[in-house]
Amino acid sequence: MNEAEDEKAQVTIKFKKNIKWTIHYESTGLNFEVHYALQEQPHILLAQIAQRTARSVFVKACKNIDRCEVNKPKKIDNNTINTPITLQTAGVNFEVFHKLVDYLDINEVRSNDIHAMLNTYGVEAARATIIGEVKGVFGAYGIHVDMRHLNLIADFMTFDGGYRPMSRLGMGQFSTSPFGKMTFETATKFIVEAASHGESDTLDGPSASVCLGKPVKVGTGSFGLLQNFSLEQPVAM
């Protein structure tokens, strides 16, 4: 290390030691000012400091809501699609939205949390949400499903006024036909359950009838035929 370099290093160290700066901020309501008092300081970029600080500052949080994004109307070929500006949140807390009734269109709030919709807006809103969600899943692949199918699914799931799964769990609670449940899934579980509780099956359902080789009670199987066996007397010649 030569003499010139050594001198340069000493100057740098000395310069660093002599930096004098103070920072304080003043705030009134939602407005705040950050004051930097700098002496003997080289030029600094305040914009970077402000951005870095803004990212780390905690402003406000809401329970169960992690993130909130603004969805602005999309532009296609310089034409703005006529859709309103919406907020999309990660997490659901309707109470927070309800407090912002003056700023948000609360009557248009939607969620994919069916349970939250059920508790807040009732069974019919939950039913409509189920339809919307199932439709959305198929719609992403360009598949059109007739509304009757979706209505049937939603009606089954909300039949008892609550919200039950359309699976063997939902079926197990509400189906009265042990054979019907067995032919769907987990036959062993249902047969043991039916035997231990002494359940009976009237074989009204198609699955139960097919299971035991009986004609299904639909279509031509929904009625019987009676034949009159009393033979007619031969006509005397």
């Binding site: 407005n31 309800h98 700023y103 609360i106 807006y121 809103a125 409509a128 009606d155 909300t158 006024g161």
Partner: protein
Amino acid sequence: MAAEMEVDDVDVHEVPECIASMIDRGSVESHRLFLARRTAMEMLRDRGYSVPEAEIARTLPEFRAWWAEKPGIERLAFTTTLVSDPSKKVQLVFCPPEPVKIATIREIYLQTKEENLSRLVLILQSKILSRAREAIKEIFKFKVDIFQATDLLVNITKHVLKPKHEVLSADQKAKLLKEYNVEDSQLPRMLETDAVARYYGFDKGTVVKVTYDGELTGKRVAYRCVF
């Protein structure tokens, strides 16, 4: 100089309002009470009670001015009668911000005893103790609807996903059950604790005609029995 001023005026863009100007400077409590009372009034009107339009149309500044005159929770109470049967009276009562105890319920009972009510709507600002809830069933001989003020900040029946609900009369119900050859227990159900059932005050056994007319659900009619 004047010409320059005009040019300056043209060049200057209108500065958007600061977010601070959108913030409600009034008390949070008065805002919450205003929203809860307005929704409660709409609820009574939707149940078929006579409610003056002025009560529902009242704005927040008007409410605050009225409230500031003499802030007292008892001023928020409101009594009205059923349009179809004026002998049936209902009273809307706001409870104090403290947790509701048996003493509070007894106090409300003494206030409403002379009114000859057929229904009472209690709006709570905090939790209600389980003993007080039991006391309501014992003390009052008529049905008492209990709501939290936070549940009434918004009128849920104005939501886009909520279809039209109509209560069937006893004759209409009997006709429906006969037509489809079913019992009311076989109809799709709506729980008595359901948000919409609580809003309209449906009793157990009520059959509701639900008319869907939306983009999501399509046009159709269904029936639900309150359980």
